[in-house]
């Protein structure tokens, strides 16, 4: 996608055991939710490295959702709790680096939580709308405009 025609992009890291299934279910239920979300499948939110969250933003994501199982029902016992602390660490780094921490959020959904999942995506889309596109993208657009003859 070239940055000119792009609106905003939300990356959602979804655990196979819950959120990914919920997203699937949302599809079969024909639930409508923001189409600018891009889902990346993970065997467990505990697999996700702090770097992935940062890299998504570095590359131009406007919001990142990390969706794991409900607390206490992680397929791998505590992967979602570990993910939560990594997300919190990444949020701190984002804030230190000049990006709003709210752009990154950890949510918990069960495999049956299709509506909950779409609700979380919608909420993130609203957050992104309220905050505007990522300042990284704005800066890029500005530079590109300057370069243009």
């Amino acid at each position: 996608m070239s940055s000119s025609d792009k609106e905003t992009t939300i990356v959602a890291f979804c655990c196979i055991y819950c959120a990914y299934a919920a997203a699937d279910l949302a599809g079969s239920m024909r639930l409508q939710y923001p189409s600018n979300v891009r889902i990346i499948r993970t065997p467990c939110t505990g697999r996700l490295e702090v770097e992935y969250f940062l890299r998504a933003f570095e590359n131009g994501a406007d919001g990142v959702l990390v969706a794991g199982c409900e607390e206490g029902s992680c397929h791998f016992k505590e992967g979602n709790l570990i993910a939560k602390r990594r997300v919190n660490y990444a949020r701190k780094l984002l804030a230190e680096s000049g990006l709003e921490a709210e752009r990154l959020k950890m949510v918990n959904v069960s495999a049956a939580g299709a509506r909950l999942f779409t609700g979380h995506v919608r909420e993130m889309a609203e957050t992104v709308q309220r905050l505007g596109p990522s300042p990284l993208n704005r800066a890029k657009t500005r530079v590109q405009q300057e370069i243009k003859p």
Binding site: Y33, R38, I40
Partner: protein, 467 residues
């Protein structure tokens, strides 16, 4: 999906496809390894579920260790006297105990506590503490059938008035014949200590139990007044028949709402008053016998057992299966199975079916002389490992260990493939097969790569998935 915005939906599909292609460039074949299986089972818990499971395995020719904490087989079934169908339960329990005791393939460990579980599917080492001594047994699969406990309550003057008893006590008295029902009112209160803040779940057995005891009383003496104060009657399945019978026999069912529970007072003899949404006025019943349908509590020891086995329990303290529908009698931790009240409150027939199911799943492990381990496991790049031991601390399954070179090594059979260690290792020395860091990073790069930017050259994975 996104039917209102077809262009955007297509754009989404294209991008997801691009990302997947980026990842696919980095995929490598997965190959597992195999190891010998100890074809012996171990069942924790000597109640009806545990014995049923042990017998099912023993009957297929497997040796089974049956570990029971108390010094008696039978578990909770020993407290029960008859079933809803009015069969006497003790001969059944005695029969199954005898059958188990006489089975040459079952090795009993009565009065024994499980103190440690090491190893993994096919090769568990379970430490037992029995009569003041420690011992160790090996097995290839473990079935958890640790049961549950009756929930105690102090509500409704329980413990303060002789006339307030539990369904279990009523049942025992009815069977012994020292409960004279003649010309008296018996008031049963449902959902005592269930479906509340403390125990949000339905204990499932109490409705049938009260119907069972109410029918028994009515049978002994139709003139007895039996009142059941309930929130919802959950005599599910064919048990509904007995609910109908009870109504026909003249048992009076009165609904109450959770925010207006019945009141039991003892100022002028026992009086139960209840405000039912179905009656305009509150109802008062004079009685000398209030029977509380107390629920089922998770066994207090579950947390300890769960930690040892590295399996999850829910907020209510019951064990949680890997998947409600797809893997209902096993845990995510391979080689460990589940049945009976340890899983959730339910009736004996359901426990028995579940125990048989658990045994048949366990026999899929025990029937193999060798097992293949899944290839979606994590591996340590020994040249990058700095022996910080972070992975040994974060892994929920104790899969990483220190090898003879003082480096971390992940035991494939123990690894469940969550990738927690891979994301935590400060030296980036661990990769989870099929979900490698580069694959995630390339997907993220591809998603945001503008058409003009060069795609990074596809790198041939340096290491294949072969162990």
């Amino acid at each position: 999906m996104h039917s209102a915005e077809p262009e955007k939906a297509t754009e989404k599909a294209t991008e997801l496809m691009k990302m997947s292609v980026a990842r696919a460039r980095l995929l490598s074949p997965l190959t597992g390894t195999s190891f010998a299986v100890d074809q012996t089972g171990l069942v924790i818990g000597g109640g009806v579920s545990g014995m049923t499971a042990a017998l099912a395995l023993a009957g297929q020719g497997f040796k089974v260790h049956l570990v029971e904490k108390s010094d008696r087989l039978g578990g909770r079934a020993l407290d029960l006297r008859y079933t809803l169908e009015h069969e006497d339960i003790s001969p059944f329990v005695a029969g199954i105990v005898k059958e188990a005791e006489e089975h040459p393939n079952i090795i009993f460990h009565l009065g024994a506590d499980v103190t440690n579980v090491a190893g993994f599917i096919g090769q568990f080492k379970v430490s037992l503490f029995q009569d003041g001594t420690d011992s160790e047994v090996s097995c290839g699969a473990i079935i958890v059938a640790t049961g549950a406990a009756p929930a105690a309550t102090g509500e409704y003057l329980r413990g303060k008035d002789q006339g307030v008893i539990t369904q279990l006590e009523l049942e025992q008295r009815l069977q012994k014949g020292d409960f004279a029902p003649g010309r008296r009112n018996v008031v049963m209160i449902q959902c005592v200590g269930s479906r509340n803040e403390e125990r949000p779940y339905c204990s499932r057995i109490c409705c049938s139990m009260s119907v069972k005891n109410a029918l028994k009383i009515k049978k002994l003496d139709p003139s007895a007044g039996v009142y059941v104060l309930y929130r919802d009657i959950r005599t599910y399945g064919f048990r509904e028949k007995y609910y109908k019978q009870a109504r026909e026999a003249g048992v009076i069912f009165i609904r109450y709402e959770p925010d207006a529970p019945p009141l039991v007072s003892q100022d002028n003899g026992l009086v139960v008053s209840v405000k039912s949404p179905d009656f305009p006025e509150p109802v008062e019943i004079e009685t000398d016998c209030v029977v509380l349908s107390t629920g089922v509590d998770a066994a207090g020891d579950n947390r300890r057992v769960a930690d040892m086995l590295k399996v999850p329990i829910n907020a209510d303290g019951f064990f949680v299966e890997a998947h409600l529908k797809l893997r209902p009698v096993e845990f995510a931790t391979e080689g460990i199975f589940l049945c009976g009240l340890a899983h959730s409150p339910k009736h004996m027939d359901e426990n028995i079916s579940q125990a048989r199911a658990a045994a048949s799943r366990a026999s899929t492990v025990l029937s193999k002389a060798y097992l293949e381990v899944g290839a979606q496991v994590s591996q340590v790049d020994q040249s990058k490992c700095i022996s910080c031991m972070t992975c040994t601390k974060v892994c929920p399954y104790g899969a990483p260990t220190v090898n003879a070179d003082h480096k971390a090594e992940i035991i494939a059979a123990k690894c469940m493939g969550c990738g927690i260690c891979a994301a935590e290792c400060p030296a980036c020395a661990i990769q989870l097969n099929h979900f490698e860091s580069r694959q995630f990073k390339d997907m993220l790069d591809e998603l945001f790569r503008s058409g003009k930017e060069e795609r990074r050259p596809a790198v041939v994975p340096e290491k294949s998935g072969v162990l």
